[in-house]
């Protein structure tokens, strides 16, 4: 139903704020045109009337220049001229009766406008408007000179016509311009509204179209889109984590259930009962550990950067950690190569940084065979510092490296070993909080974890 759509769109246009503005604009235009017309009309009229009066006064002076006795004759002559002059003359005697002339009724002295019906003129019954000037003479007679106002009236009519059309055109143009502008604005706003309703309906990938004109709508679209980008990644993260939690917790819970069920059916002695209970307990603990790790990551992610940060002596912290792990390395027959530049300080949370480094070391210990060398190297580079922890194990394939930082991601090779797949997620979260660039690379062979600490801003 295209008509229905058009009507609908039209109605929406009429209701739009932009259209209201266009109407107001058109009215304003009309008002300006009217004012302009009135001012020019009055000015033009005034000018022409003044000209007219000037010529009448001149003619009057000419007639009055004749001696009183010859005035009637002079008027007679002027009226008898062919073609007839533009002036009307009349002379009334002291008794107010017409002596000679074509102005039939004696006007008041001074300037006045009279109307005179002359059925014969131009073949139709037209009332002439005449501007007249009359002055009473010393002998009591009155001399009147006048001139037809037709030219002024014609100009008047012309002006009125011109300004009416021009005014109408201005209003129509203003309205049309307003409609076009309103339509343009309406389309842009509706594109945004449409994207918003698509998102509300569940299509999180919907974005506002950017026209590339770089105007305020484009800027609005860009900031809306970046907001949508963030929301989408958060929502998808949430969805992913919910799925992962459900998936990862189902396994230990299922095991626990099976063990308890089996114990109820098959266990015959106190010893076998307590054995089943111990294993169920271990399953429950692993679920709880996973929850605790998730909550810890969530807490780190929710924290504002710099909140509770202080100066941390990174070199000293790392030295202590290395000393703590050296016996573990030795017991497992690993070469532990350590090179720590002293005096490196950063701005951060010592507890979280410790936790992060423990997780990186634990990750290396956990995923490589005993006897595999591990190295730790801290360097001051430029204004920042760089920590590289490498193992000579199997490493992580390049395409998996960004994935393993996500929650619950465990590579197939690691499936058989215990672990929640949350260790490196916490590392990523703490690094992100501190503005540390975390890069997983190839130690050829093995995993290279590179942490680039930002330039320390003195607190």
């Amino acid at each position: 139903m295209p008509l229905g759509v058009n009507v609908h769109a039209g109605a929406r246009m009429l209701r739009s704020a932009a259209f209201r503005l266009a109407v107001i604009q058109a009215l304003l235009f009309a008002l300006i045109a009217l004012t302009l017309f009135l001012v020019s009309w009055f000015a033009a009229r005034h000018y022409i009337e003044n000209q007219l009066r000037q010529t009448i006064t001149d003619e009057f002076s000419e007639v009055i220049a004749h001696p009183p006795a010859q005035r009637a004759a002079s008027i007679q002559r002027s009226l008898a001229q062919v073609p007839r002059g533009v002036y009307d003359y009349s002379l009334f005697d002291a008794r107010r009766s017409l002596v000679v002339g074509d102005i039939l009724e004696e006007p008041v002295a001074g300037w006045s406008t009279i109307e005179q019906h002359e059925g014969l003129r131009g073949g139709k019954d037209a009332a002439r408007r005449i501007l007249v000037y009359g002055a009473t003479q010393d002998d009591g007679s009155m001399l009147v000179v006048g001139r037809d106002l037709a030219s002024v009236d014609e100009l008047d009519a012309l002006l009125k016509q011109v300004f009416t059309w021009a005014g109408l055109a201005a209003v129509v143009l203003a309205l049309a311009g307003g409609m076009v502008t309103a339509g343009g604005y309406l389309r842009r706003v509706e594109a945004i509204a449409e994207a918003a309703s698509r998102i509300a309906a569940g299509d999180l990938a919907a974005r506002v179209l950017i026209t590339g004109r770089g105007d305020e709508f484009d800027r609005l679209a860009v900031s809306l889109n970046s907001m949508l980008e963030r929301i989408q990644s958060l929502v998808e993260g949430l969805r992913q984590v919910s799925n992962d939690i459900a998936h990862d917790l189902r396994t230990p819970l299922t095991h626990m259930r099976q063990r308890l069920e089996a114990a109820m059916e098959e266990a015959t002695s106190v010893e076998s009962y307590s054995k089943a209970c111990a294993r169920a307990l271990a399953d429950a603990d692993s679920v709880l550990d996973t929850f605790a790790a998730l909550l810890r990551i969530a807490k780190v992610e929710a924290r504002q950067r710099l909140e509770g940060f202080a100066d941390v002596a990174l070199s000293a912290l790392l030295e202590r950690l290395v000393d703590d792990y050296r016996p573990v390395m030795e017991d497992e027959g690993r070469a532990f190569n350590v090179a720590i530049t002293t005096g490196v300080h950063i701005h951060g949370d010592a507890l979280l940084l410790t936790q992060m480094l423990v997780n990186v070391l634990e990750n290396a210990l956990h995923h490589t065979e005993p006897g595999t060398p591990i190295s730790v190297k801290l360097d001051a580079i430029g204004h920042g510092s760089q920590l590289v922890i490498e193992d000579a194990g199997r490493g992580i394939p390049a395409r998996e490296r960004s994935r393993v930082l996500k929650r619950f991601v465990r590579l197939d090779a690691a499936r058989s070993t215990p672990g929640s797949g949350l260790g490196l997620s916490l590392v990523a979260a703490v690094a992100d909080l501190h503005g540390i660039a975390l890069t997983l690379g190839d130690a050829a062979p093995g995993l290279r974890v590179q942490l680039d600490f930002p330039h320390r801003q003195d607190a």
Binding site: L288, A292, A293, K299, D324, P327, Q355, E362, H366, P418
Partner: protein, 228 residues
């Protein structure tokens, strides 16, 4: 020990109180913060087990009020799963230890023993003696039967913690928290490795019984008495 248990969850409260009673302690129970505060100020308890989330008055406020009235009872705070920051807040407010839920009863009992026997003079002591072992807390030196033993800094911290809690069960998570300052337990046997090293230094070259004994399923205990 006379213990006040302030916990609003009935299941947890019953489980903990019956466990503590089974170990021979006298336990009073309270279900909310106001009542807990009232009981704590009316009676002298050795230890108060205080849940952080309580109806009427939260655990942290109860603790602050108790400390402001000068109550000397030891306080162990219980907090929700994964609430790491609570530990720091709780310690600042005057708690003697902190335990995250869920916990094993043996862990709670070990920690209650540890804080209840903690000497009031621990901060002013200069030497600690456990049997033949002598710890010079100022110079950070240790000797057994007069023979000096060289320890790494972390081994010293570990031995000092054991010595301060001599004769008590010390769990792995207590060691991780109080000696290492870690908030979550690593997968590796960091604690066992260090305990093993410490043992070799203080036991290997000497005649006599083991000083640090493993308590199966719970942790370790430092003792000079002839044991099983």
């Amino acid at each position: 020990m006379r213990i006040l248990l302030v916990e609003d969850d009935i299941d947890t409260r019953t489980y903990v109180s019956s466990g503590l009673r089974a170990k021979g302690h006298a336990v009073d129970e309270s279900g909310d913060g106001h009542d807990g505060l009232l009981r704590a100020s009316e009676h002298d308890y050795d230890v108060i087990v205080l849940d952080r989330m309580l109806p009427a008055l939260d655990g942290m406020s109860v603790l602050k009020k108790l400390r402001s009235c000068g109550t000397q009872a030891r306080v162990l705070m219980l907090t929700a799963l994964g609430d790491v920051d609570a530990r720091i807040d709780g310690m600042e407010a005057g708690a003697d230890d902190y335990l995250g839920k869920p916990f094993a009863l043996s862990e709670l009992i070990a920690r209650l023993n540890a804080i209840s026997r903690r000497s009031a003079h621990a901060n002013t002591m200069t030497t600690l003696r456990v049997g033949e072992l002598e710890l010079d807390l100022i110079a950070q030196r240790v000797s057994r039967a007069g023979k000096p033993i060289h320890l790494q800094p972390r081994e010293w911290d570990l031995l000092k913690y054991f010595a301060l809690h001599a004769g008590e069960v010390v769990t792995r998570s207590m060691l991780l928290e109080h000696v290492w300052g870690f908030q979550s337990s690593p997968h590796t046997n960091l604690v066992d490795t260090h305990v093993c090293r410490l043992r070799s230094k203080i036991e290997r070259d000497f005649f006599g019984p083991r000083i640090i004994r493993t308590v199966r399923g719970e942790g370790y205990t430092l003792s000079m008495k002839q044991g099983h």
